[in-house]
Amino acid sequence: MQKQTPSAKLAAARPPSFPLTLPRGSFALDAAIDDRLRLNSGATPRSGSAAHPIFGFVAALGGSGLSVAEILDRCGHSIDDGPVLAACEIDWDRTLQVGSVYQVDGEVSAMRRKPSRRFGAADHLHLCFTVLHEDETFARVRLHMIIPAA
């Protein structure tokens, strides 16, 4: 049986309303983390200062004002439920650069419960993030996560 945090219990008793705006966060994209994730995904070494494009996603989630666990907690779930990613969209407006600190705005747009062949029932969570630097948008990310609800 999963342990529920006090705030998750409260959220379960009083369902959150959506959209749920997340506090602004930040992500420091330095050369070391770009090198590390390139190495761990078999990418070619960086040329110049352009970061690997996956940092559109990594900065959004890693720099969110709330971690994945905290977002799920606000939605009445636990990270221990084993959420999975169902879909995502990324729009890059500019190339992310190493040596920059990005701001991240985010929102939980919606959460809908649907029947699930695998879990019996599952909550479908829709999130969107904007990655900015000095008020210029660098990336916009939309995620669809599925969380067992039975």
Binding site: I33, R36, L37, N40, S41, G42, A43, T44, A50, H52, P53, I54, F57, V58, L61, G62, S64, S67, V68, A69, I79, D80, G82, P83, V84, L85, A86, A87, C88, E89, I90, D91, W92, D93, R94, T95, R118, P148
Partner: protein
């Protein structure tokens, strides 16, 4: 996987603990984070189109890559600067990720 979950601040135990992964029905191995699988596809596109940068990506996660899996990436140009790509686990004959990437971002 640890480098990825640290960067993503993702404490999902399916990425760290094989026992939890098994208990949740994923089998006795940890599950690769979804963005890592996306990176494999973006790597293939970067090698095919050096110097180009993606401006849009749409992805559907259809299955999981598990610790120790070998994966294969394939893709084809479908016009308008778009590549349709697929990540598979050949040993299971399973497609785990479908992606459409649009290139042409001006830095």
């Amino acid at each position: 996987m640890i480098a990825w979950v640290e960067a993503l601040r993702d404490d999902n135990p399916i990425h760290r603990d094989p026992a939890t992964s098994a208990a949740l029905g994923f089998g006795p191995r940890t599950v690769n984070p979804g963005p890592t699988n996306l990176a494999y596809v973006l790597n293939m596109i970067a090698q095919a189109f050096p110097g180009d940068h993606p401006c849009r990506l749409e992805a559907r996660f259809l299955g999981n890559v598990l610790a120790g899996d070998d994966v294969a990436v394939s893709g084809r140009c479908i016009g308008d600067g778009q590549v349709e790509a697929r990540l598979t686990v050949p040993a299971r004959g399973e497609t785990v990720l479908d992606v459409v990437v649009t290139g042409g971002l001006v830095i």
